[in-house]
Symmetry: C2
Subunit: 402 residues, 2 copies
Amino acid sequence: MGLIVQKFGGSSVADAESIRRVAWIIAEAYSEGKNVVVVLSAQADTTDDLIAKAKELNPNPSMREMDVLLSTGEQASIALMAMALETLGLPVVSLTGWQVGMNTDSSYGSARIKGVSAERLKAELDRRRIVLVAGFQGINKFDDITTIGRGGSDTTAVALAVTLNAEICRIYTDVEGIFTGDPNKLPGAKKLDEITYDEMIELATLGAQVLHNRSVEMAKRYGVKMEVLSSLVRKPGTIVKGVTKMEHMKISGVAKDSDIARIALVGLKDEPGVAFKMFRVLANEKINIDIILQSIGRNNTNDISFTVSRSDMEKAVNVLEENKDIIGYTDISTTDKIAKVSIVGAGMMSSPGVAAMMFEALYDSKINIAMISTSEIKISVLVDENDADRSVAAIHAKFFGA
Amino acid sequence: MGLIVQKFGGSSVADAESIRRVAWIIAEAYSEGKNVVVVLSAQADTTDDLIAKAKELNPNPSMREMDVLLSTGEQASIALMAMALETLGLPVVSLTGWQVGMNTDSSYGSARIKGVSAERLKAELDRRRIVLVAGFQGINKFDDITTIGRGGSDTTAVALAVTLNAEICRIYTDVEGIFTGDPNKLPGAKKLDEITYDEMIELATLGAQVLHNRSVEMAKRYGVKMEVLSSLVRKPGTIVKGVTKMEHMKISGVAKDSDIARIALVGLKDEPGVAFKMFRVLANEKINIDIILQSIGRNNTNDISFTVSRSDMEKAVNVLEENKDIIGYTDISTTDKIAKVSIVGAGMMSSPGVAAMMFEALYDSKINIAMISTSEIKISVLVDENDADRSVAAIHAKFFGA
């Protein structure tokens, strides 16, 4: 008997009306003869409300107790959904993270899933029950409750799909799938029928926050087919899988990331170890670096520019200034009036001219490029913040039409 | 090292201010060198809010899923209190019902505690941690979450006190202890220093809803000393134990119960099995009977009067009328314009004249008695609803002064 995993996020279970709508989606899958495992997030706002209550008492609560607190949100969701399914006369049982055997390490607040001891889960499925699983939570070797980080319910769903060898892991959202651009801003944005794991990961990194990246990485590793689709509109979404059809478009999407700042160190000595020292001090402060570009400066020196998230800019500058003598540079300059615009596509590098098309689109719109970075399946450019939306529109029009 | 169990109810943890106040009470006990186990209820209103959410989806949800839902309330409380204690620099850990090994039977919604497998709890205490335990919840043999009924956190506290051989189980409330009458209505009401388990049980049954009866029964069975005291005012409360001091007052309190209705069946045949048939049909409908009085009627018939809670009156009348032929009676009469007023005291029956004093107080106030019922430690009378408060005041004045 086929088995599918469905995951619904916080807005899909926000109130009684939403819960009833989701119950019908679950009922439909079950009545088609499938075994159905459903992963639920906390009701919208619940997690934020709980965090606010915690912070009122303690600005720095232990992560262990935070996990005890936050895990109640998903537990309430599964119970409420079970009650809704009961009214449809369907056999259903809800299981928390510890009941489903979602074993994690002990990194409270951002635990990694180690495995699923799914005896209970399988026994319930054998009885033809719909099993509702609390997302985002697990249990560690001390029998303590852990959470696997925000957005982690996607990962819960994929982990269950792996364990149960599911046909597909369907992630229900408030959009109809993955689009070539933001459909609210680009009238010509097209929904993709398919996308590869790698393209999805690049798009997620770039701020198209439909799927949690960890979940896609896990799906890729174990070959779990995913589908991103709407819980509001009944139509096929976007399939995420390993290899897509031959007629796949050269690029699968255009994305913008505005949470970005650029720092440039000027006048670095042209000798081994300079870059190492520089990025070592940043890593010690847990500052994530995105794009790095090194260029030749004057008088046998190098310049290195890199980008960080805006919230990290000040910390990065401080630590670089504290270590100015160790690293050895003459000047430091920063800006956060920039944005990153990227195109993603698995077939890109084997299609000459994609980069040229992108740059041409920007040139036609008289948009200046501050930095360029490329990977196997992605080309990113840094542009002035004020040009970002125009850049996305111009590139999207070039590849997909207006 | 001495160990104490403290229990705080929903109003004691209703908001950040209350939680901080309770944290100081816990900290004080801990700093006196005691091992401290704390049982917490859900924050005030939380349980009612969750029930409302459930009923919106399903008027008759399964009790299993209701328990999954409701148990989140206490889980949130223990996490929040742990965070408050962390700010005081105290070592603390929160444990849910399943983590503490609160084993129950499978009567979801009203489970009975079978035992506590306290390995984890003892290990945490050995590390000199304050242990916060979610009240009201347990786990059954299927590893399902159960709840032990409303007010059950008192029972959780006593069960832990039994298991850990605690010096005392302190139940913190919003009153300063057990009073001889309602202190809000009777200016002369006195706080009792001590009260026996049996007296406490009678008072609880009578509507002085300070302690949950199941908890007192368990405390009696295992000889656990309890104390009812205020979480707002720092002074000794009322000790509940097996035998109280010799100078103990003859009666320990006066209580009123207005949630009462009287049903009378007239003209029952004077033959064996009549009472049995009558109370069997009521029991089948799960209607609880309180006082029963049988009197001789006319022409070799009997009349039987009994009281039920007001919410059960209509159901009781319906089932009695449906079974009129089987039971065999001529008339049925009902009233809910009555109230029950009772005095409770362990030494009562060995003190002749207590009943007389009570009746004298009512006679002096010209209050008519509709029914009388007595037990080892209790005398109850049924009076007109409008006379109830005057009755309590008159009786209280007679025994304790104005």
